[in-house]
Structure formats: C-alpha cells, structure tokens
C-alpha cells in the first residue's frame, strides 16, 4: 500500500502576509482518488496551483513520483505528467471539442514548425497518432457526438467533461480536478463521478480532486483530506473522516 505518488511536507503559502496554507503535510497513494474538502477559502485551489506550478510554496516541499518538485513552472509540471482541470472549465472557447482535446496533447508533440509547414511524413504520422488518441478519449468520455461543436456553444456540464478529456488525453500520472462537478445537476454529477472512477480504474490515473458535494466525495474517494483556514483538520478514509469530531466541528456542521 505504501507507494505514495505525491508527498507534501510542511507546505506553506501566503499572499502578501495572508497565510493561505499553513504547514500542510499529507501524502497521496498511487492509484487512489483523494478528495480535498473544506469551506471556501480553505486553500484548496491554492494547493492545486502549487502542485502544478502556478503558485510557488513559501516553505516546505512537494515530492512527485519520488522526485522533489522545486520552483516548477506550469509547462514543466504538465511534461512530468501532472494534468489539471479548472473550476470554470477554462477551455479554448473558439476551438471545437476535438481541437481542444488535441491541444491537450501538445506536450507530447515532437515535431517542428518546418515539418508542420511542409506536411512532412513525421508530422503526418504524429497527427494520425494524435487524432486516434483524441478520438479514443472522446469515446471514453462519451463526447463523440459533440466532436465538431465549438465548445463555447455547449452546455456547462459538457464543457466540464471536455475539460476532463483535454487533461486525460495526455495520459497524466496525476490528475488534479478543481471542482469537476460544480454547477451540475444530479444526473450530470453521477455521470462525472462515473468518468472519474473509470479514469482511475481503467487507466490507473491517480486523482486529487476538490469537491463540495459531500455525498459524491464520500462515495467516490478512497482518501479525504479536510482543510480549514489553510490547516489540515482531517486526513483518512471517508468513513473515518466523516466521524472525526474535529472535522465535524470545522466543516460538516452538526452531526446527522
């Protein structure tokens, strides 16, 4: 069991003196679905931003796959296999669903501008490979009917799924999902939970997600980390966290 893919030790982050994350340590096992929960402003999104290099931690360190990540930039995180979706599905709005997913493969591209301009064989081969991978991911997430639609014209729930497809197509080892079900109805949430579970079960992707819907969190995740005001107040399997008095006090409110 003890095969951590991600280990945080004493990570702190502050914005102009305001502490957003305070000496946070936890680890994520390979192949698990780990949920970060906590009230708004608890530092969950900031933590994801540290993990993929958008922010830099003031103190402490993060180890990914046994290697310490130091002052990593977003592109470098992606190249190491850390994928990410966004709270507001920051898709490339003028591109089709298919092109958005293809853009997710950018970090795997080994061809050059000249090859693209002249359509040399290596470019053609790579383009074929990329299209096949994108088609496969569209099928996996049941997005094929929307393949040629411009994403700006799609309903929000579908856009969130395209965001997931764009991250999954690059086969990340670690996938960070920032509120993948925000703003969805019950049916859309169940579908998204099914896709997230399938990404882990069928592709072995380790997933760290932020989610507010406690029902979804408890049924989907193997491991829950609870944050409150930048501090960790709970860490363990869903059932243990659910019954932890400190967690209940900080976040879940009065016991059911």
């Amino acid at each position: 069991m003890a095969d951590p893919i991600l280990e945080l030790s004493d990570v702190s982050l502050s914005f102009k003196g305001l502490k957003a994350i305070h000496a946070l340590s936890f680890s994520v096992e390979r192949g698990e679905i780990c949920a970060l929960i906590g009230p708004n402003g608890a530092g969950k999104s900031s933590l994801l931003n540290i993990l993929n290099g958008v922010y830099r931690a003031d103190e402490g360190h993060v180890a990914f796959d046994g290697e310490r990540l130091r002052s990593i930039r977003p592109g470098a995180a992606a190249r190491r296999g850390i994928g990410r979706t966004f709270q507001h599905a920051a898709l490339f709005s003028g591109l089709s669903v298919f092109d958005n997913v293809l853009a997710g493969l950018a970090r795997h591209s080994r061809t050059t501008l000249v090859e693209h301009a002249l359509g040399l064989p290596r470019d053609a081969a790579e383009a074929r490979r990329f299209r096949a991978a994108a088609e496969e991911t569209l099928g996996f997430l049941e997005l094929t009917p929307y393949r040629d639609r411009i994403v700006a014209t799609l309903p929000y729930g579908i856009q969130k799924r395209v965001d997931l497809a764009r991250a999954l197509v690059a086969r990340p080892t670690l996938l960070l999902l920032d509120e993948p079900m925000a703003g969805m109805n019950g049916e859309e949430k169940r579908a998204m939970a099914r896709f997230i579970a399938a990404a882990r079960d069928e592709r072995g992707t380790t997933i760290v997600l932020i989610e507010h819907d406690i029902g979804v969190v408890m049924s989907l995740s193997d491991h829950v980390v609870v944050l409150d005001y930048g501090r960790k107040v709970g860490d363990g399997p869903p059932d243990a966290v659910r019954n932890d008095p400190a967690v209940i006090a900080a976040y879940l409110g009065k016991p059911h």
């Binding site: 490339f92 970090r107 094929t144």
Partner: protein, 349 residues
C-alpha cells in the same frame, strides 16, 4: 449509452454536416484557382492587373501574415508595415548582392529575414499581454522605417530614397509585364497560403489558438506558450515580408520605406478586422474589400453625382466609411465578413 454505441452514433452526428460542405468547398476552391490562373490571364487588361488584381493579392498576403500573428495566436501587432519593409529591402539586397540566386529563393530569403526580425520584435510578447503589446510593435514600426531611411547600405547608397527594383527574371522569362508580375504574385500568394493553411491546421496552429483563447490554461496543460508566441511572430512577419517584397517588385517597381509606413500597418489591421480575425479566407475577403471600395466609390460618385466630388473628398469619404465599418464589425461581428458569408451559406447554423 456504452462507449461503443456512443462512438457509432457520434460518427453519424458529428460527420453529417461536414459531408456536403467539404466537396462543395473543394470545388469552390478549384474553381477559384482556375479563374485566377487561367480565366484572368486570358481576359484581364493591364488596368485590372495594376490597379486591382496585383494590389489585392499582395495586401491579402500582408493581411494573412498579420492574421496568423494576431487572429490565430492573439498577439496584437502594428508592425506589419515594418515587416513588409524588411522583406522588400532584404529581397532587394539578396537580388543585388547574390544575383546568382534564382528569384524564388531571394523572395523566400527576404521572407525568412523578415521572420527573424519579427521574432525579435515579438520577444516582448513573453512579458507583455494583449493590447499593451501594440506599444513595442509600434516602436518597431517607427524604428525600422527610420533605419531604412538612414542607413545607406540597405538601399545601396542610392541618392533618391526610392530605388528602382532590379528586373524580375525567372528561368529566362522576363516577368516585368503586368501579366508576368501578376503570375509571380499569384504563384507566390498561392504557395504561401497553402503553407499557412497547413500550419493553422497543424499542432502549431492549435497551439497558437490555445494561447489566444486561454494563455494560463494553455501553459497548465503543457502547450509551449513562449514557443507558440514567437513562432506566430516569426511566421506572420515572414508572410508579411514576402508581401512587402512583392509590393516593391511586382506592384510599385521601386523599393521605398515610405510605402511601408504606419498607414500600411493599419491597412493590414483593417483588412483582418473587416475580413475576419482567425480566418485565412477572411484575409482575402478583407483585402478585396479594402482595394475595391475606393475604386467603387470613385465610379459611383462619377456616375451618380457626375464628378461633383473631387479626389480629396472621396478619400475623406472613404476614411469615414472604413471607420464606421470597423466600429460596426468590432461590435457586431468580430469574426468579420468571412463569418458573415459563412452564415449566409449555411443559414441553419
């Protein structure tokens, strides 16, 4: 729905609208090329070549260059005139100093040198975003124009600031007749457009559009943002550079930095705003509009008002019309005439 079924039904749903559109588009394009390469040379007069066809094609190419940088990659630029000037002077110097090079090589070389200058001008885009990027490109526009006027080496120490272009010869054919210059322009524009079309459909083009639509998201998912921006400046400036060389050699017959001033940069900008940002055909539609409108206005005023408007009034009228159109397009149809025409063809969408 199981994934297999979804894939099957998706094939039907996704491809159906594309099927009739594709052959129609190919046929349209083939017809256009047939007209341009065969029908026009059989019928056109020198007036058509000099006043309409050659300037239209060259400005379409200049607009296309800016469209790659600005319309596809989202990097604002007012340096098109400067890149055209670099292309023109570079080609002139290649023809002058390396006369053994065939004309297409000198032309492509001029484009590559303009691209290299574009890359340097694009360096601030790594730190400056959006509208503010106009400032460094504007500085480049003034600086480059000034350099060509001041440093005599570029114009081979000509006494006049307008130097006459060397004769255009390719494979023993003299291309200095209007039909020859048209053939040179059309061939160059076609080749460059095909390369641009390949690029925008490739991973490079996708990276450009990803950076345009969401730079942070693009960086996070692993799009090489810096490379995308610089390559967009390089390719855009190279295309505009070739347009500049053609402007000097196939249209004006002289190389003159004054014909590549800020007005030229604005003209390219108007072409892509009216024609369509992020659309290859939009560059051509916009150029046709901007080249034809003044001619149309002159004819209209002569026919309707019996020449009551003089040339100055017509050119003022023209500015008013362009200004109003640009404001109108930016508010109502940021994707320009290309999108408008696209909707007319497919009213269902």
């Amino acid at each position: 729905m199981p994934p297999a079924l979804a894939t099957l039904s998706g094939l039907g749903a996704g491809r159906r609208p594309a099927l009739p559109a594709l052959p129609a588009r190919t046929a349209g394009l083939a017809l256009l090329l047939a007209v341009a390469f065969v029908a026009i040379p059989l019928t056109a007069t020198d007036y058509w070549y000099n006043a309409i066809l050659i300037p239209f094609l060259i400005m379409a190419l200049a607009g296309l260059g800016l469209n790659l940088t600005m319309g596809y990659a989202g990097q604002a630029s007012l340096g098109t005139g400067a890149f055209m000037a670099v292309g023109a002077y570079a080609t002139y110097n290649l023809l002058l100093r390396l006369p053994e090079l065939p004309l297409p090589v000198s032309l492509a070389g001029g484009g590559l040198i303009a691209g290299a200058v574009g890359l340097v001008v694009g360096l601030p885009s790594l730190r400056i975003k959006g509208f503010y990027l106009i400032a460094p490109t504007l500085a480049a526009q003034f600086l480059i124009e000034w350099i060509f006027n001041q440093v005599g080496w570029f114009s081979n120490y000509a006494t006049s600031s307008a130097i006459s272009a060397p004769r255009l010869v390719f494979l023993g054919h003299d291309l200095s007749s209007p039909a020859g210059r048209y053939a040179l322009t059309l061939t160059s524009v076609t080749v460059v457009t095909v390369v641009a079309w390949r690029l925008v459909g490739s991973q490079t083009g996708r990276n450009w559009r990803a950076v345009r639509d969401g730079e942070t998201a693009a960086a996070v998912i692993g799009v090489p943002v810096a490379r995308a921006k610089l390559s967009a400046f390089f390719v855009g400036a190279a295309v505009s550079g070739i347009a500049g060389a053609l402007w000097a050699f196939a249209y004006l017959g002289t190389v003159d930095a004054r014909s590549f001033d800020l007005d030229r940069s604005f003209q390219a900008l108007f072409i892509i705003i009216i024609g369509g940002l992020g659309s290859l055909s939009g560059s051509f539609i916009g150029a046709a509009f901007i080249v034809l409108l003044p001619i149309l206005l002159t004819h209209l005023s002569n026919a309707a008002l019996g020449g009551a408007l003089d040339g100055g009034q017509i050119s003022n009228l023209q500015r008013i019309i362009f200004g109003a159109l640009i404001i109108g397009f930016l508010i109502k149809e940021p994707n320009g005439l290309a999108a408008l025409l696209g909707r007319l063809r497919r009213p269902a969408c």
